[in-house]
Symmetry: C2
Amino acid sequence: MFELDVRSRRPIYEQLTDKIKELILYGILRSDEQLPSVRTLSAQLTVNPNTIQKAYRELEREGYIYSRPGKGSFVSPAQQGTNAAKRAEVRDELLRLMAEAVYLGFTESEISVLFKQASEQKGEEDQP
Amino acid sequence: MFELDVRSRRPIYEQLTDKIKELILYGILRSDEQLPSVRTLSAQLTVNPNTIQKAYRELEREGYIYSRPGKGSFVSPAQQGTNAAKRAEVRDELLRLMAEAVYLGFTESEISVLFKQASEQKGEEDQP
DNA sequence: TTAACTGTATTATTAATAATAGTACAGTTG
DNA sequence: CAACTGTACTATTATTAATAATACAGTTAA
Protein backbone atom coordinates (compact mmCIF):
# COMPACT_ATOMS: atom_id res chain seq x y z
CA MET A 1 0.00 0.00 0.00
CA PHE A 2 2.85 2.37 0.76
CA GLU A 3 6.48 2.76 0.04
CA LEU A 4 8.55 4.31 2.76
CA ASP A 5 12.12 5.45 2.82
CA VAL A 6 13.25 4.63 6.31
CA ARG A 7 16.55 6.39 5.85
CA SER A 8 15.09 9.58 4.50
CA ARG A 9 15.45 12.74 6.51
CA ARG A 10 11.73 13.04 6.39
CA PRO A 11 10.24 11.29 9.41
CA ILE A 12 8.34 8.12 8.68
CA TYR A 13 5.14 9.42 10.23
CA GLU A 14 5.31 12.45 7.95
CA GLN A 15 5.86 10.36 4.85
CA LEU A 16 2.85 8.38 5.93
CA THR A 17 0.54 11.33 6.48
CA ASP A 18 1.48 12.75 3.11
CA LYS A 19 0.86 9.53 1.23
CA ILE A 20 -2.48 8.98 2.91
CA LYS A 21 -3.49 12.57 2.28
CA GLU A 22 -2.77 12.09 -1.40
CA LEU A 23 -4.76 8.88 -1.55
CA ILE A 24 -7.66 10.71 0.03
CA LEU A 25 -7.41 13.88 -2.01
CA TYR A 26 -7.11 11.94 -5.23
CA GLY A 27 -10.16 9.94 -4.24
CA ILE A 28 -8.32 6.63 -4.22
CA LEU A 29 -9.40 6.19 -0.64
CA ARG A 30 -13.14 6.80 -0.55
CA SER A 31 -15.30 8.44 2.06
CA ASP A 32 -15.81 6.36 5.19
CA GLU A 33 -13.48 3.72 3.83
CA GLN A 34 -11.65 2.00 6.64
CA LEU A 35 -7.92 2.41 6.89
CA PRO A 36 -5.69 -0.45 7.98
CA SER A 37 -5.58 -0.74 11.74
CA VAL A 38 -2.63 0.73 13.53
CA ARG A 39 -1.26 -2.69 14.35
CA THR A 40 -1.89 -4.15 10.91
CA LEU A 41 -0.17 -1.35 9.08
CA SER A 42 2.61 -1.42 11.60
CA ALA A 43 3.19 -5.07 10.79
CA GLN A 44 2.94 -4.54 7.04
CA LEU A 45 5.45 -1.74 7.02
CA THR A 46 7.58 -3.26 9.77
CA VAL A 47 7.37 -0.02 11.65
CA ASN A 48 6.60 0.61 15.26
CA PRO A 49 2.87 0.92 16.05
CA ASN A 50 3.49 4.19 17.79
CA THR A 51 4.78 5.67 14.57
CA ILE A 52 1.60 4.70 12.76
CA GLN A 53 -0.49 6.03 15.58
CA LYS A 54 1.33 9.33 15.42
CA ALA A 55 0.50 9.59 11.72
CA TYR A 56 -3.14 8.73 12.28
CA ARG A 57 -3.41 11.18 15.15
CA GLU A 58 -2.05 13.92 12.93
CA LEU A 59 -4.39 13.01 10.09
CA GLU A 60 -7.35 13.17 12.45
CA ARG A 61 -6.17 16.48 13.85
CA GLU A 62 -6.16 17.87 10.32
CA GLY A 63 -9.57 16.45 9.57
CA TYR A 64 -8.56 13.91 6.98
CA ILE A 65 -9.73 10.91 8.93
CA TYR A 66 -11.82 10.12 11.96
CA SER A 67 -11.16 7.35 14.44
CA ARG A 68 -13.55 5.33 16.52
CA PRO A 69 -12.06 3.45 19.45
CA GLY A 70 -12.83 -0.23 19.09
CA LYS A 71 -13.91 0.18 15.46
CA GLY A 72 -11.17 1.68 13.41
CA SER A 73 -10.02 4.71 11.45
CA PHE A 74 -11.94 5.97 8.46
CA VAL A 75 -11.67 8.54 5.71
CA SER A 76 -13.39 11.75 6.59
CA PRO A 77 -16.21 12.44 4.09
CA ALA A 78 -15.56 16.16 4.03
CA GLN A 79 -12.10 15.77 2.56
CA GLN A 80 -12.64 13.08 -0.01
CA GLY A 81 -12.15 14.17 -3.56
CA THR A 82 -11.14 17.64 -2.49
CA ASN A 83 -8.46 18.34 -5.00
CA ALA A 84 -8.74 22.04 -4.32
CA ALA A 85 -6.22 22.01 -1.51
CA LYS A 86 -3.80 19.94 -3.51
CA ARG A 87 -4.26 22.14 -6.53
CA ALA A 88 -3.47 25.25 -4.55
CA GLU A 89 -0.41 23.59 -3.15
CA VAL A 90 0.89 22.53 -6.55
CA ARG A 91 0.08 25.92 -7.96
CA ASP A 92 2.19 27.63 -5.30
CA GLU A 93 5.09 25.33 -5.91
CA LEU A 94 4.87 25.85 -9.63
CA LEU A 95 4.89 29.59 -9.21
CA ARG A 96 7.96 29.48 -7.03
CA LEU A 97 9.78 27.17 -9.39
CA MET A 98 8.86 29.17 -12.45
CA ALA A 99 10.23 32.30 -10.86
CA GLU A 100 13.53 30.49 -10.75
CA ALA A 101 13.08 29.26 -14.27
CA VAL A 102 12.52 32.82 -15.45
CA TYR A 103 15.70 33.82 -13.70
CA LEU A 104 17.53 31.10 -15.56
CA GLY A 105 16.21 32.25 -18.88
CA PHE A 106 13.52 29.69 -19.53
CA THR A 107 11.08 30.82 -22.17
CA GLU A 108 7.36 30.31 -22.31
CA SER A 109 7.70 27.88 -25.19
CA GLU A 110 10.14 25.79 -23.20
CA ILE A 111 7.61 25.65 -20.43
CA SER A 112 4.94 24.59 -22.87
CA VAL A 113 7.13 21.80 -24.12
CA LEU A 114 7.65 20.60 -20.58
CA PHE A 115 3.94 20.62 -19.98
CA LYS A 116 3.33 18.56 -23.09
CA GLN A 117 5.94 16.07 -22.00
CA ALA A 118 4.30 15.80 -18.63
CA SER A 119 0.94 15.23 -20.29
CA GLU A 120 2.24 12.41 -22.46
CA GLN A 121 3.93 10.83 -19.50
CA LYS A 122 0.66 10.61 -17.66
CA GLY A 123 -1.11 9.30 -20.71
CA GLU A 124 1.18 6.31 -20.93
CA GLU A 125 1.03 4.98 -17.45
CA ASP A 126 -2.56 5.79 -16.61
CA GLN A 127 -5.97 4.74 -17.76
CA PRO A 128 -5.81 1.01 -18.57
CA MET B 1 24.96 37.90 3.13
CA PHE B 2 22.82 34.91 4.03
CA GLU B 3 19.61 34.12 5.73
CA LEU B 4 19.50 30.89 7.63
CA ASP B 5 16.67 29.09 9.30
CA VAL B 6 18.28 27.55 12.33
CA ARG B 7 15.16 25.63 13.21
CA SER B 8 14.68 24.15 9.81
CA ARG B 9 14.99 20.42 9.42
CA ARG B 10 17.56 21.13 6.76
CA PRO B 11 20.98 21.20 8.36
CA ILE B 12 22.61 24.62 8.52
CA TYR B 13 25.64 23.48 6.57
CA GLU B 14 23.36 22.28 3.79
CA GLN B 15 21.43 25.52 3.65
CA LEU B 16 24.77 27.25 3.39
CA THR B 17 26.14 25.14 0.57
CA ASP B 18 22.96 25.62 -1.40
CA LYS B 19 22.92 29.38 -1.01
CA ILE B 20 26.57 29.69 -1.97
CA LYS B 21 26.08 27.40 -4.93
CA GLU B 22 23.28 29.64 -6.15
CA LEU B 23 25.36 32.79 -5.73
CA ILE B 24 28.09 31.15 -7.77
CA LEU B 25 25.86 29.66 -10.44
CA TYR B 26 24.01 32.91 -10.88
CA GLY B 27 27.30 34.72 -11.22
CA ILE B 28 26.73 36.91 -8.19
CA LEU B 29 29.94 35.56 -6.76
CA ARG B 30 32.56 35.90 -9.45
CA SER B 31 35.49 33.68 -10.36
CA ASP B 32 38.33 33.75 -7.87
CA GLU B 33 36.35 36.04 -5.63
CA GLN B 34 37.19 35.45 -2.01
CA LEU B 35 34.56 34.10 0.28
CA PRO B 36 34.26 35.24 3.89
CA SER B 37 36.68 33.40 6.11
CA VAL B 38 35.38 30.53 8.15
CA ARG B 39 35.67 32.51 11.35
CA THR B 40 34.22 35.71 9.94
CA LEU B 41 31.16 34.02 8.52
CA SER B 42 30.82 32.03 11.69
CA ALA B 43 30.67 35.28 13.65
CA GLN B 44 28.30 36.95 11.21
CA LEU B 45 25.85 34.11 11.27
CA THR B 46 26.42 33.28 14.91
CA VAL B 47 27.06 29.72 13.97
CA ASN B 48 29.81 27.42 15.04
CA PRO B 49 32.98 27.64 12.89
CA ASN B 50 32.93 23.91 12.38
CA THR B 51 29.57 24.20 10.71
CA ILE B 52 30.93 26.73 8.24
CA GLN B 53 33.96 24.62 7.64
CA LYS B 54 31.81 21.65 6.91
CA ALA B 55 29.96 23.64 4.28
CA TYR B 56 33.16 24.91 2.71
CA ARG B 57 34.65 21.44 2.69
CA GLU B 58 31.62 20.14 0.87
CA LEU B 59 31.70 22.99 -1.63
CA GLU B 60 35.33 22.29 -2.36
CA ARG B 61 34.64 18.57 -2.70
CA GLU B 62 32.04 19.39 -5.32
CA GLY B 63 34.37 21.75 -7.13
CA TYR B 64 32.50 24.98 -6.44
CA ILE B 65 35.31 26.60 -4.51
CA TYR B 66 38.97 26.05 -3.80
CA SER B 67 40.70 26.79 -0.52
CA ARG B 68 44.25 27.82 0.17
CA PRO B 69 45.46 27.38 3.72
CA GLY B 70 46.59 30.70 5.05
CA LYS B 71 44.94 32.63 2.22
CA GLY B 72 41.30 31.90 2.06
CA SER B 73 38.53 30.26 0.09
CA PHE B 74 37.70 31.34 -3.43
CA VAL B 75 35.15 30.72 -6.14
CA SER B 76 36.28 28.07 -8.56
CA PRO B 77 36.55 29.56 -12.08
CA ALA B 78 35.22 26.42 -13.71
CA GLN B 79 31.82 26.73 -12.09
CA GLN B 80 31.15 30.43 -12.31
CA GLY B 81 28.28 31.34 -14.53
CA THR B 82 27.49 27.73 -15.22
CA ASN B 83 23.75 27.88 -15.21
CA ALA B 84 23.55 24.64 -17.13
CA ALA B 85 23.52 22.46 -14.05
CA LYS B 86 20.97 24.65 -12.32
CA ARG B 87 18.82 24.74 -15.41
CA ALA B 88 18.80 20.97 -15.67
CA GLU B 89 17.85 20.73 -12.04
CA VAL B 90 14.98 23.18 -12.33
CA ARG B 91 13.84 21.52 -15.51
CA ASP B 92 13.60 18.15 -13.78
CA GLU B 93 11.69 19.60 -10.89
CA LEU B 94 9.32 21.37 -13.23
CA LEU B 95 8.65 18.20 -15.13
CA ARG B 96 7.88 16.29 -11.98
CA LEU B 97 5.59 19.01 -10.69
CA MET B 98 3.80 19.40 -13.97
CA ALA B 99 3.07 15.71 -14.06
CA GLU B 100 1.20 16.25 -10.83
CA ALA B 101 -0.44 19.34 -12.23
CA VAL B 102 -1.68 17.36 -15.21
CA TYR B 103 -3.08 14.80 -12.82
CA LEU B 104 -4.96 17.55 -11.05
CA GLY B 105 -6.42 18.87 -14.26
CA PHE B 106 -4.28 21.89 -14.86
CA THR B 107 -4.48 23.10 -18.45
CA GLU B 108 -1.75 24.49 -20.61
CA SER B 109 -3.24 27.95 -20.48
CA GLU B 110 -3.25 27.87 -16.70
CA ILE B 111 0.43 27.02 -16.83
CA SER B 112 1.06 29.88 -19.19
CA VAL B 113 -0.66 32.26 -16.83
CA LEU B 114 1.52 31.06 -14.01
CA PHE B 115 4.60 31.60 -16.10
CA LYS B 116 3.54 35.14 -16.91
CA GLN B 117 2.95 35.84 -13.25
CA ALA B 118 6.38 34.55 -12.44
CA SER B 119 7.87 36.74 -15.14
CA GLU B 120 6.20 39.88 -13.81
CA GLN B 121 7.28 39.04 -10.32
CA LYS B 122 10.90 38.97 -11.35
CA GLY B 123 10.56 42.12 -13.36
CA GLU B 124 9.48 44.06 -10.31
CA GLU B 125 12.21 43.21 -7.90
CA ASP B 126 15.12 42.94 -10.31
CA GLN B 127 17.00 45.25 -12.60
CA PRO B 128 16.99 48.76 -11.03
C1' DT C 1 60.15 39.02 12.96
C1' DT C 2 55.93 38.94 14.94
C1' DA C 3 51.01 39.46 15.37
C1' DA C 4 46.93 38.50 13.26
C1' DC C 5 45.02 36.57 9.99
C1' DT C 6 43.89 32.31 6.97
C1' DG C 7 42.39 26.91 6.34
C1' DT C 8 42.47 22.31 8.33
C1' DA C 9 42.00 18.55 11.61
C1' DT C 10 40.62 16.14 15.67
C1' DT C 11 38.08 14.73 19.71
C1' DA C 12 34.50 15.21 22.91
C1' DT C 13 30.13 16.80 24.28
C1' DT C 14 25.49 18.57 23.93
C1' DA C 15 20.83 18.89 22.01
C1' DA C 16 17.06 17.56 19.52
C1' DT C 17 14.08 14.22 18.03
C1' DA C 18 12.52 10.22 15.47
C1' DA C 19 11.82 5.62 16.43
C1' DT C 20 11.31 1.83 19.30
C1' DA C 21 9.76 -0.98 23.28
C1' DG C 22 6.59 -2.15 26.59
C1' DT C 23 2.44 -1.81 29.00
C1' DA C 24 -2.14 -0.54 30.06
C1' DC C 25 -7.05 0.68 29.45
C1' DA C 26 -11.47 0.78 27.21
C1' DG C 27 -14.74 0.16 23.37
C1' DT C 28 -16.46 -3.21 19.56
C1' DT C 29 -17.58 -7.43 17.51
C1' DG C 30 -18.38 -12.20 16.49
C1' DC D 1 -15.23 -14.52 26.23
C1' DA D 2 -11.59 -13.86 22.73
C1' DA D 3 -9.78 -11.04 19.48
C1' DC D 4 -9.95 -7.28 17.54
C1' DT D 5 -10.01 -1.92 17.54
C1' DG D 6 -8.02 3.09 19.13
C1' DT D 7 -5.68 5.63 22.73
C1' DA D 8 -2.30 6.97 26.21
C1' DC D 9 1.82 6.98 28.65
C1' DT D 10 6.69 6.39 30.07
C1' DA D 11 11.21 5.04 29.13
C1' DT D 12 14.92 3.98 26.18
C1' DT D 13 17.72 3.83 22.03
C1' DA D 14 19.78 5.70 17.86
C1' DT D 15 20.99 9.11 14.86
C1' DT D 16 22.96 13.25 13.75
C1' DA D 17 23.48 18.21 13.62
C1' DA D 18 25.66 21.49 16.22
C1' DT D 19 28.76 23.07 19.48
C1' DA D 20 33.06 23.45 22.20
C1' DA D 21 37.81 23.44 22.63
C1' DT D 22 42.26 22.90 20.84
C1' DA D 23 46.02 22.40 17.90
C1' DC D 24 48.93 22.98 13.77
C1' DA D 25 50.66 25.21 9.70
C1' DG D 26 50.66 28.60 5.85
C1' DT D 27 50.11 33.80 4.59
C1' DT D 28 50.42 38.56 5.14
C1' DA D 29 51.23 43.05 6.59
C1' DA D 30 52.91 46.14 10.13
